[in-house]
């Protein structure tokens, strides 16, 4: 499968190949990682449909979009799996998936499952003022953070949004010096301390291994 570009993943998502027995319905922000895992493990029976990553700007729309995608594709595949965490749906996505009889990845959000839900939970109390970015979000920082928050037009709002944060944690899925530099620059633009934390694919990898069997 060709590598999709980040703008397409943000705006329109990624269409499935329409072959294979398992369809993964994933957030566009996870596409590179999901495709990398499929390729590395030669999971040819897995197909991927990514919804536009920009849905994260409107979490109230995620549940309905996932439901629509499940209904659209469920007859074509033996099984479907949702690669969204709760992602700000307040439990509604979990409830909908249960109603549809479809499993989803565990966790409150991708920051948690990339680091590993168990590990992330151990510092929930001590790291409440951390702002997280993943590889995708570092690459798409302007499209996902800077512009939607209006900081390109109203830089004076920066401290209204980020005044209570103390550090930016870049959860690195890959070792890429250019992304590290860009993440450090993002921290600087937000006026936050910077920390890089290598996570790899975390629970995304173990969850996909389980589905693949």
């Amino acid at each position: 499968m060709d590598q999709p570009n980040d703008i397409d993943l943000t705006e329109t998502g990624l269409a499935p190949r329409q072959s294979g027995s398992v369809l993964l319905i994933a957030c566009g922000a996870l596409a590179h990682e999901v495709l990398a895992l499929i390729k590395a493990n030669d999971w040819q029976h897995m197909d991927v449909q990514c919804l536009p990553a920009k849905l994260h700007l409107y979490p109230e729309k995620i549940t309905a979009e996932v439901e629509r995608t499940v209904q659209e594709h469920r007859a074509q595949y033996q099984s479907l799996f949702v690669l969204y965490a709760d992602c700000g749906t307040g439990g509604l996505l979990q409830a909908k998936c249960a109603e549809l009889g479809v499993e989803m990845i565990e966790g409150p959000h991708c920051y948690s499952f990339f680091e590993g839900n168990a590990t992330f939970a151990t510092h929930l109390d001590t790291e409440i003022s951390a702002f997280y970015l993943t590889d995708f979000l570092v690459r798409q920082f302007d499209a996902f953070v800077w512009k939607p928050m209006g900081l390109d037009r109203y830089p004076q709002l920066r401290d209204t949004y980020f005044g209570n944060y103390t550090k930016l944690v870049y959860q690195a899925q890959t070792n890429d010096p250019a992304l590290n530099a860009k993440a450090a620059d993002c921290a600087n633009r937000l006026g936050l301390a910077y920390e890089r934390r290598f996570t790899g694919y975390g629970d995304l990898a173990t969850t996909m291994e389980r589905i693949a069997q």
Binding site: G90, M149, L151, T160
Partner: protein, 232 residues
């Protein structure tokens, strides 16, 4: 030839000035709002009229356009900042003139959560609607909420959370209130992006408020019910 774009606020009639202030709030022009407030006060308007007719009415338009997807969060924040400037002038005058008070609210973001944009908007709109607001800030434990309720004797407790991981803490607070036999003494309103009506019911809150304008209307409605109960 005069510059057509130049609007001298002090040269406008009262009605024109109020409409201009609605526009200036919409555009987030803090200095113009402060100037407009000072002009109306100098023209012997009561602080309460300035608040309701110029500021709150203007923010109501902002709120409606936000809900309809015409305005977005950055613009609402700028409008709120402009209103805050006007409120800072009006607050001491409102106290001094004994403007009508709707009730009192203690509000705070729950433990583990540092997000306060929504909470601050609610607090400001509640003040604009005539409520006295005690803002506890962010990351509040159940003990801090209880202390504040004891000290402030509010009518309403407002709790806010932006995270799926922190919103369950609202139930901890409400359950503790129940254990202490004080739940029925307060109206409990909850809000925050991942919340919904079902969650609010499940944790035993009185109402979920999806935005600041709804919070104000809900608070008013509950205060009216409380008043009617007390006078029945």
């Amino acid at each position: 030839m005069a510059d057509d774009d130049e609007i001298i606020l002090s040269e406008l009639s009262d009605d024109e000035l109020v409409l201009q202030m609605h526009d200036d709030l919409y555009d987030g022009l803090k200095e113009e709002i402060e100037e407009g407030v000072n002009i109306l006060i100098a023209r012997k308007w009561t602080p309460y009229d300035v608040l309701t007719k110029a500021l709150v009415a203007g923010m109501t338009i902002v709120g409606a356009d936000f809900r309809d997807g015409i305005l977005f969060v950055p613009e609402v924040l700028l409008a709120a900042n402009a209103m805050k400037g006007g409120m800072a002038i009006l607050k001491p005058l409102l106290i001094a003139t004994g403007a009508p008070r709707m009730g009192k609210m203690v509000i705070g973001t729950v433990k583990g959560d540092i997000h306060d944009i929504g909470k601050n908007l609610v607090g400001m709109m509640m003040e604009g609607a005539g409520f006295e607001v005690k803002d506890l800030g962010i990351n509040n434990s159940v003990e801090k909420y209880l202390e504040a309720m004891e000290a402030e004797k509010p009518d309403i407790l407002g709790m806010s959370a932006l995270l799926t991981t922190t919103m369950p803490y609202m139930k901890v607070v409400i359950d503790t209130m129940k254990e202490k036999g004080m739940r029925e003494d307060y109206i409990v309103l909850v809000g925050g992006a991942p919340l919904n009506e079902e969650f609010s019911k499940a944790i035993g809150a009185d109402a979920y408020c999806r935005d600041a304008a709804v919070a104000v209307e809900t608070a008013k409605a509950y205060m009216l019910r409380k008043h009617n109960r007390a006078t029945a």
